[in-house]
Each structure stands twice: as C-alpha cells, then as structure tokens.
C-alpha cells in the first residue's frame, strides 16, 4: 500500500522563470513546504500577495512527526482554510494518565473551557496536515491567487541586498536564479538558509536519545495520553503513548545517551521493546521508526534585512509540550499581516522588527517551558531525580503535588507583554485579554467570535458606541459591535469586561489585543492604530 508520504504531492515541473535570461523578481519567496512554510505562503496569498514556495523535496514529510495541535494554531489554520478539516480527521482527547514505576499515580481530565469553536488539542499526523495545506494552495491557485509550490527546487546560494535577495536554485534540469523582495525561511531545524547566511543558532543540547515509533494496531487502549516515568519496560527512562487517526499510535521511548542509534532502530530491537510495553499478545505493525536527540535553542535575531526566519529554522524546542509546529504557525500569523502592510506601503519596514521582538519573546517562553519539562522527565543530577520521584510519589496520594508533575506543558499562545505595538491598558479588565494577549473565543448568538474578527484590524465594542469605520494612514479598522445583554454570567463579559460595564478593544489582524479602553476616544484609538502599525 502506498502511504501518503510516499507519493509526490508537488512533483517537479519546469517553471517559465527557469527560461528567463534575467532573474525574475517575486514579491515573497518561502523556503520549505512544511507546516510553517505552507502556512506562511497561504497567509500571503490570502492577502493577494504573490508568493512562491521552494522545497528540495516533492512529498509531505515522512512519518508522523508533529502530532499534537493546540487550539490557537487550529484557530489560525481555520483562517487559512484548514482548521475544520484537521479537526474532522484528528483525534480529540482530554484525559491524561501518569504512571510511575509499575503503577498509575493519577489521572488528569483537561476539562476544556466552554464556548470555544476549536478543541484544546487534537492529534493528527503531520503528513495529513501538510496534505490539507497543499490542497488549500491548489484551491487558492484555482481561484486565481498567485501562489505556487516548486518541488525539487533546492536553494544552493543566497545573496542578500538592501532591497531584495537573489537565490540560486538547483533543479533536476539544472540551476536558475530567482529574486525576491522578501524571503521567509521555514526550512526547519537544520535550516540551510541559516547556514548559507552564516547565522548563529545557540542554546542547550540535551544528551538524550528518544526512540519514536508509529505503530498500527487494533488495540483497546482508550483515547488518552499515557505518560510513564521509570516504567518496568523501560527502567530508569520515560515512555509516552498517544493515539492518532487510522489506528496509528505514537510511542516515544527514552533511550539514554550512550547508545548505538543504528542498532536501536532495527526492527529486531524495536519490536521486543514495544512488546514489553504493549503486552506480548498485542498485534501491531511498525509504520515509522526514528531516533531523535534534541536541543533548545534559537537564533539571536529572526529578521536579517529582507530575510525572515520562522518555525524550527528560527527556534528549536524539545518535543515535550508540542511547541514546535504550534509555535511556528504563530510565527507566521504574527509575520503575515505585518509583511502584508509593509509590501503594500501601509506601514514602515521597521514594523517587521516587532515580529522579531514579539516572536523572540514567545520563543523564549517556549524554550523555558520545554526545558523545564525536559529537566523533570530526564533529571540531570541525583538530587533532581530525588525531588522528581518525591513529586511523583506524593502525586499518588495528594492533589497538591499534581501540578508539579511535568510531562510537558502544552502549548498556549504567548501574550506579547511589553510589546511596542501595545497601548497601555486603560480598561483594567480581565488579565487574559490585556493588551498583547491573543483573543479567547466566545460563542455568540450567531456564531463564534474569532471568525468574526477575521484577519483585519477590528474595533470590538461591547456595550459601547463607536464609529463603524476608522481610516488612519491607509489602515481601515472596522467595528464589530457586541452586547453582553446585561448577563453577568455571559462568557463575553467574563472574558472581555470583568468588572467593567463596557469596553472598546482594538484587535490586530493576528487577533491579539492592541489596546482597550472603557469607551471610544477618537484620539486615543487613532494613536493606538498608529502604534500597532509601527508608526509611533
């Protein structure tokens, strides 16, 4: 049977650009057709901006790779046209079980908050996600958008200039040159773009190896996340079992540092390990096996003139907490609208420096969280192991210790506190909707809030008056008028008003709050729009 990841999805096709004597100039070129690169390109195309995606391969990624997608990235994917198809195919789960040694120490139910269109997480193989994104690219193309994927187009050299970049691209039919006003590098943790530009990528290496296996089995394990610390079948190490669609199960087994990787990857060595974990009687088939080590690190700067780095190319985290692909999509969500405004001369180029600042803030938060998880899962000293085991032993008996158990803190959106695009909080409303934070969804009488915000600047008024439209230096801000209907229990009131009786929010195209006040004040909001677009 042909697996989806064995079929070329965007096979090489000669482009007319290859026959031009002088290099063709494109508005935006994206390197890398993974989740982040495809997300970035769809974002640009939906804004009506010409974009070309280059990838040295022609297929979706091999093996399941990123499997856990969190609510915020699903909301972003919804705006890119792929949120619902992912949720329909994906596996939803909300129960986690933690095992220590030979026993279950506790069970956790991650009760989702009411009134959100998208679930807290789904599990879905990365190859499905990439397939949906590629389908979306083709759909946009069919509708006339200027977006194309060029498979087996490997960038072999990059020249950077103040106004553009020049790319030398190798193809099966020889090489050609292409110019781009802007280059978005989404070519992963081993980014060749980064290497070709001689840029840094510093951080902490974790001396550990993980065996990652996708197995296909008909088993009656429930749809839950099971995490083992120091289990009998993998003494002194950890293990994770997680369900994906199509009866594919993801298994992670920590192996330690001093191992022979090639030997451990062989089926004759993998299968006995899995049998010890799943039980001798369980029948399964190995779909994919890989061994990975990881690092927590980031580039010093994500913007280098006309080259913008996003996703794993810019920052790498441990897999605990699913913060790789999830944070990469938030990178492109942050970058897309800013780059669009700059390209359309509606904002100064310096607005792109706020991408650098805001997403470095987010990367640092992700690195901090994933480093802490890693330190809990793989203690680095005798005393840290003593405390780790003490937490696990206590968690079996007492609730208080359970929040200390850290098998990965799942990805939540970063609030851009302190960003220069924010205006000071003049409302003093709920902390979760303070300037910088990403808007929480709310179920309204006629649908959900986030799709109504869409991907443009919005003036959200709650029981407050304001003009329907504000124009400021070419930026159009449209009003969305809502009311709590004097219902003190309404989620809209709880999430956006708190103790206030009315509010006006300025919301950015990436659905982060730029400013909020108790009522409309024209001068204040005009200043807030200028500030949010890098003009103050």
């Amino acid at each position: 049977m042909n697996k989806i990841f064995e079929v070329p999805l965007y096979p090489y096709k000669r482009s007319a650009d290859q026959d031009e004597l002088t290099p063709v100039r494109r508005k935006v070129v994206v390197i890398g057709a993974g989740p982040v690169g495809l997300g970035a390109a769809i974002e640009m195309a939906q804004q009506g901006i010409e974009v070309v995606i280059l990838d040295d391969n022609d297929k979706v990624s091999f093996g399941s790779r990123a499997i856990c997608f969190a609510k915020r990235p699903l909301e972003i994917l919804d705006r890119l046209g792929c949120g619902h198809v992912m949720v329909e195919k994906g596996v939803e789960w909300d129960v986690g079980k933690v095992f220590f040694d030979d026993r279950q120490v506790y069970e956790l139910n991650l009760q989702p908050e009411e009134g959100h269109e998208f679930p807290a997480f789904i599990n879905l193989q990365q190859y499905y996600m990439e397939e949906y994104l590629v389908n979306r690219v083709h759909e946009l193309q069919a509708a006339g958008a200027l977006i194309e994927i060029r498979g087996r187009n490997k960038v072999s050299a990059i020249g950077t200039h103040p106004t553009h970049v020049v790319l030398e691209i190798d193809t099966p039919e020889g090489s050609y040159n292409l110019e781009a006003d802007w280059l978005i590098a989404c070519d992963g943790a081993n980014s060749q773009t980064r290497a070709m530009l001689g840029l840094d990528f510093v951080g902490r290496v974790f001396e550990d190896n993980f065996l990652i296996a996708d197995v296909i089995m008909q088993a009656d394990f429930p749809t839950e996340r099971w995490f083992w610390f120091d289990p009998p079948f993998n003494k002194g190490q950890s293990a994770l079992l997680h369900k994906q669609p199509d009866n594919v199960w993801r298994i992670d087994l920590q192996l330690g540092w001093d191992i022979d990787k090639e030997r451990e990857k062989r089926p004759e060595n993998v299968i006995p390990r899995l049998k010890a974990m799943l039980g001798e009687e369980v029948n399964f088939e190995l779909e994919w096996v890989s061994i990975y080590t990881f690092q927590c690190r980031r580039m010093e700067k994500f913007r280098h003139g006309r080259v913008l780095f996003a996703g794993d190319a810019a920052h790498q985290v441990s897999p605990f907490g699913a913060r790789g692909a999830n944070s990469g999509l938030q990178d492109t969500d942050n970058l897309g609208w800013k780059l669009g405004l700059v390209i359309n001369d509606q904002a100064p180029e310096s607005l792109l420096d706020s991408y650098n600042r805001e997403r470095i803030h987010a990367a640092d938060e992700n690195i901090l969280n994933s480093t802490r998880s890693t330190d809990f899962i793989t203690p680095k000293s005798d005393m840290s192991r003593t405390f780790r085991d003490a937490v696990l032993d206590l968690s079996e008996h007492y609730d208080f210790a359970r929040p200390l158990v850290n098998s990965g803190r799942l990805s939540v959106p970063c609030s851009y506190d302190g960003s220069g695009l924010n205006s000071a909080d003049a409302l003093g409303g709920p902390s979760r909707t303070r300037p910088g934070s990403s808007c929480p969804d709310v179920l309204l009488e006629d649908g959900y809030l986030l799709p109504k915000l869409g991907g443009k600047f919005t003036l959200l008024t709650i029981d407050a008056d304001a003009p329907e439209v504000i124009e400021q230096d070419g930026i159009t801000v449209t009003r969305l008028a809502l009311s709590t209907g004097n219902d003190p229990t309404s989620p809209l009131k709880q999430r956006y008003l708190g103790d206030a009786t009315s509010a006006v929010y300025l919301i950015r195209p990436d659905q982060h709050v730029a400013a909020r006040r108790p009522s409309f004040d024209e001068n204040q909001f005009r200043a807030a729009i200028r500030r949010a677009t890098g003009k103050e």
């Binding site: 937490v391 210790a401 200390l404």
Partner: protein
C-alpha cells in the same frame, strides 16, 4: 521582605526534633533523602506564598 519567620516558632522544639529524627529511623540514605524531599514539598505547599518560599530558599542556603 516577606514575613518568613526566622525566630523560634515551634513549641516543644526538642520533641519536634526527636519526631523528625524518628521518621528517619532505620531508613537507608537513599530512603531518607527521598523522605526529606517529600517533606520539603509538603511544607512548601503548606506555606504557598512564593515570596516566603523564596526567602526560605535563601535562608536555607545560608545566604
């Protein structure tokens, strides 16, 4: 400054000290070390106040 109490605060200090040692009776170094870790976590949760805990960490480090 937090209100970490570093003045005598335990009634029957000798009795408490004896109970503390008795809890470790017949334990190996490893088991004692585990018990101490659990005790630190139980007490820390009881205190809860992060400023007090931060000062307690400093006080214990003799800094």
């Amino acid at each position: 400054m937090s209100n970490l109490n570093l003045t005598p605060n335990i009634d029957g200090a000798d009795d408490f000290y004896a109970e503390l040692l008795a809890t470790h009776d017949n334990l190996s170094d490893k088991a004692s070390s585990a018990l101490n870790a659990r005790l630190v976590l139980v007490l820390a949760n009881h205190i809860g106040d992060r400023a007090v805990l931060a000062d307690a960490l400093k006080a214990a480090a003799l800094k």
